[in-house]
């Protein structure tokens, strides 16, 4: 009996439609979020993440409606985020049907936001998302969809974020994102060693072997991927069978 490693499909949206791109650029349409959510719910996803990567304030009502439509399809947990800057915006996302929310840019500007969100909704509902890129011999946190360098050490920031109240870390490797060349195991392992909360690895997912690596060498608690699932390059059931046969605890479905 042990906690299963989670496989988490991620829906990057422009608020309304699922989009995808390489290294955060060249976005193109990849489908209806509610339709994909319904599919992943049946195929055995352990959780779903839906992000508003445009995160423009005017667009927020559309994204909240997207969360409602996605949540209606799910009998598994839903995490949502993108541009959350205060407790009221967090509450709106949770009320729309998300179980957890991600914060990124606003938390770097104001780490106390994590404390406020945790006090209001509990740490289990607060996921600190970090976009990290290798700079010299360390990883640096980037904000605004990966477009702005902060000079902040990603591992130190993860540790501080947990001290402030984050209940989970979603670490995205910008070097790996969209490349299908495997997760960034050294980055994930460094974050995992630094914090006491669960760590979700993101960026670079490809073959079942890459998931095995990030669980074994990256010590990830969960692994997130988008296009390999959207494009049916990798089936969730086959991925979990592969991992289960190699001794990784996963929730087998169907």
């Amino acid at each position: 009996m042990s906690l299963a490693h989670r496989i988490i499909p991620c829906l990057d949206t422009d608020g309304e439609r699922v989009v995808k791109g390489v290294n955060f650029v060249n976005l193109r349409d990849a489908g209806d979020p509610a339709a994909l959510a319904a599919r992943y719910n049946i195929e055995g996803a352990d959780e779903l993440v839906v992000l508003d990567i445009a995160a423009s304030r005017d667009h927020r009502p559309t994204f909240l409606e997207t969360i409602r439509r996605v949540a209606a399809e799910l009998a598994i947990p839903l995490t949502a985020g993108g541009g959350v800057a205060n407790v009221d915006e967090g509450r709106a996302i949770l009320r729309a049907g998300a179980d957890k929310l991600t914060v990124n840019t606003a938390a770097i500007r104001n780490p106390a936001l994590l404390t406020e969100l945790a006090a209001e909704f509990g740490s289990q509902a607060v996921v600190l998302a970090i976009d990290a890129k290798r700079v010299g011999d360390r990883w640096e946190a980037f904000v605004r969809g990966g477009s702005v360098a902060t000079g902040i050490d990603a591992v130190a920031w993860a540790r501080q974020g947990v001290d402030c109240g984050a209940g989970e870390i979603l670490i995205t490797s910008m070097d790996k994102d969209g490349t299908r060349s495997g997760f960034d195991c050294p980055l994930t392992a460094a974050i995992s060693r630094a914090v006491s909360v669960p760590v979700i690895a993101s960026g670079g997912a490809d073959t079942p072997e890459t998931f095995l690596e990030v669980f074994r060498e990256g010590h990830a608690d969960a692994a997130l991927a988008a296009s390999i699932f959207h494009d049916s390059i990798q089936g969730l059931g086959a991925l979990k069978r592969y991992l289960g046969e190699r001794g990784v605890s996963v929730r087998q479905t169907g």
């Binding site: 906690l3 299963a4 352990d46 949540a71 598994i76 957890k100 289990q124 989970e168």
Partner: protein
């Protein structure tokens, strides 16, 4: 069948409503003592903080009506924080009284593994369980918590183990509760909700 979800201004009511709706079971929200008195079964969902939950119930005057409903034999299902609220007290809010349907207290899980305990885990069954009827022994359920009841006497029917063994399912007469979220636990979670509705006298 008249199922009421206790509404206290927080929690995850819509998820539970949707999960019941998928079973074809209608529910309504109850936020007043009168509404709690007038139902066939009660569900106390919960996410967040033990102290905040008990204060919200107190401000709405729902603590005594909930206890009275249980005394009358109304079936009650507590979910996650709703399970924890059934105990006398919690490490999460020292000095704040719980519903005290059970005399033990809720403890912080010792930090020997990652916390919060977040994700899908399996159960160890200690006694026959009504809620788990028809559920495979190796089924996974979704948990998201850092506090738990380590002991519930003979009401503890199934346990989970993360950082310490803790009560995952408790049942005593008309009182039922799960530390996991059945409304987020896929088909096996639906089975648990269905079992509750059936044992409460409805068509689960």
């Amino acid at each position: 069948m008249n199922i009421a979800l206790v509404e206290y201004g927080a929690g995850n009511l819509p998820s539970v409503e949707r999960a019941l709706g998928r079973l074809g079971v209608e529910s309504r929200r109850a936020s007043t003592p009168e509404a709690l008195a007038d139902c066939d079964a009660l569900i106390l969902p919960g996410v967040g903080h033990f102290g905040a939950l008990m204060r919200s119930l107190g401000e709405r005057g729902l603590v005594k009506p909930l206890r009275e409903a249980v005394s009358r034999g109304t079936p009650l299902l507590g979910i996650c924080l709703g399970l924890q609220a059934m105990f006398a007290a919690s490490d999460e809010a020292p000095g704040e009284a719980g519903l005290a349907l059970f005399p033990q207290k809720v403890s912080a899980l010792p930090p020997v593994d990652r916390l919060p305990h977040m994700g899908w885990n399996q159960l160890r069954r200690a006694r026959p369980s009504k809620l788990l009827e028809g559920v495979p022994e190796d089924a996974y359920f979704y948990f998201a918590h850092s506090y738990a009841a380590l002991d519930a006497g003979d009401a503890g029917v199934a346990y989970c183990d993360h950082c310490a063994p803790f009560v995952a399912v408790l049942e005593k007469q008309n009182v039922f509760a799960t530390q996991f979220h059945p409304e987020k636990s896929g088909p096996v979670g639906a089975q648990v909700l269905s079992n509750f509705v059936r044992h409460a006298g409805g068509k689960g």
